[in-house]
């Protein structure tokens, strides 16, 4: 079986979301770099894979996909049984519903609070020489506190977000949280002991440790 291809850069958050799933199921994959400097993401070849000109894109034989969460579901569905992992819980309606709720929570509640902090504190200065917009950061920190209040309560009742089992909902938090930890706002988690313990558990997984080595700006 030919390794699947992930088009993008290893340090990209959304690429890492797919890679952590591939690592968890032990699938063979190769990362094909996309050269943003050369505007490769807007080339006809890449637009044929991702019409929005973004990364990641993904190829498994004839199957070409984009949107990291869609790619991740495909990967988890394809490889889970043979890998002996069950990160979507699709055989159990109630558990799958919990995974879907918390996957949406990451996308609609957590990400909008965390991503701008990562962009303003790390990406804009390091990659574009643009200074941090502190007003944006402060607003997002307030948003994030409210979100973490809910996470703390949730993780006081269950060891993971969807229940007492690791799922895609937890893994989906890995990339942006990894980068949050490289900002001064890592200390926010000190006020949320359950969240902090949950994060440390995720970060110490072999998949996370391996990918972290290539994740810096």
């Amino acid at each position: 079986m030919a390794p699947v291809k992930v088009f993008g850069l290893k340090m990209s958050t959304n690429v890492a979301r797919v890679l952590v799933c591939l690592e968890e199921v032990g699938a063979e994959y190769e990362v094909v770099d996309i050269d943003f400097q050369a505007k490769e993401h807007k080339s006809p070849q890449h637009l044929a894979r991702n019409p929005f000109g973004q990364i990641p894109a993904f190829q498994d034989g004839d199957v070409v996909l984009f949107e990291s969460r869609a790619i991740s579901r495909y990967v988890l569905r394809k490889y889970s049984k043979s890998a002996g992992v069950d990160l979507l819980r699709e055989d159990n309606l109630e558990e799958a519903a919990a995974v879907d709720v918390w996957t949406e929570v990451e996308a609609q509640q957590y990400n909008p609070a965390v991503a701008p902090i990562v962009y303003e504190c790390l990406i804009h200065p390091a990659m574009f020489g643009v200074p941090t917009n502190q007003k944006v950061v402060d607003e997002c920190v307030e948003k994030l506190r409210k979100v973490l209040d809910v996470y703390e309560a949730r993780l006081s009742r269950h060891s993971y977000l969807a229940g007492d089992f690791l799922s895609f909902a937890d893994l989906s938090h890995f990339p942006y949280t990894h980068y949050l930890m490289a900002t001064p706002y890592a200390s926010l988690f000190d006020s949320y002991p359950r969240v902090k313990a949950w994060w440390q558990g995720l970060a110490s997984r072999p998949s996370a440790k391996k990918l972290s080595a290539d994740m810096s700006f």
Binding site: P51, F52, R73, L93, E94, A97, V101, V105, Q109, V150
Partner: protein, 214 residues
């Protein structure tokens, strides 16, 4: 059997997203009002259903769920009657579910808020915000136009949850001066004309307490 309870405001497009799915599946439900204007969504009673204090939430027997897209996945998976909204495996369907969430929604939602909801609350649309999101939504819909020239529905030949998740906001958009974003794109328009004519959706919009057109 206790009826399904959909908590929210009947006019809220995220609530209507779920109502549309329930109607496609021919499921009975009641809308339990949660009036955002009175802060009902921040009261302990509602936070017990959705700790993030947002509408909708769905109660189906013992199951309580929130996040409209997660609720719709649950409805599509649990109920086998009616159209197959989430046939598996469908990698293409998953892609377009995410496209709705991360490309369409981030621009159509502020547009609908500025042009429809804010005026209803006595405010005025902010032209800078409207222009920015209309411009971005136009670029997104250009991608849809190309895709729908090759595909009758977003996931291929059949209507699925990927199409359905767009409908509440497409309906609201059609009531604003930015309706031309859809109307000016032949394949997007044809797709919208087709899916909005579905009997279940006609039933859904009949229940939306829309004020007389401005």
């Amino acid at each position: 059997m206790a009826p399904r309870k959909l908590y929210g405001m009947p006019l809220s497009p995220n609530v209507v997203r779920v109502a549309a799915a329930l109607n496609e599946k021919g499921l009975d439900f009641e809308i339990v009002p949660v009036d955002l204007r009175t802060g009902a969504h921040k009261q302990p009673e509602f936070l017990a259903l959705n700790p993030f204090g947002q509408i909708p939430a769905l109660q189906d027997g013992d199951e309580v769920l929130y996040e409209s897209r997660a609720i719709n996945r649950y409805i599509a998976t649990k109920y086998t009657e009616g159209p197959e909204l989430l046939p598996t495996p469908s990698a293409k369907l998953e892609v377009w579910l995410e496209v709705e969430s991360h490309h369409f929604y981030p621009h159509v939602s502020p547009l609908v808020f500025q042009l429809l909801i804010k005026p209803m609350l006595g405010g005025a649309a902010d032209p800078v915000v409207v222009d920015k999101h209309a411009h971005e939504l136009a670029r997104v819909l250009d991608v849809y136009e190309t895709h729908l020239a090759q595909n009758k529905y977003l996931a291929g030949d059949a209507f699925t949850l990927a199409d359905l998740n767009h409908m509440s906001y497409l309906f609201c958009l059609s009531k604003t001066p930015k309706a031309d974003l859809v109307a000016s794109r032949p394949h997007v328009k044809a797709w919208w004309d087709d899916i909005s004519a579905r009997p279940a959706f006609q039933k859904t919009v009949a229940a939306i307490p829309f004020p007389p057109s401005a």
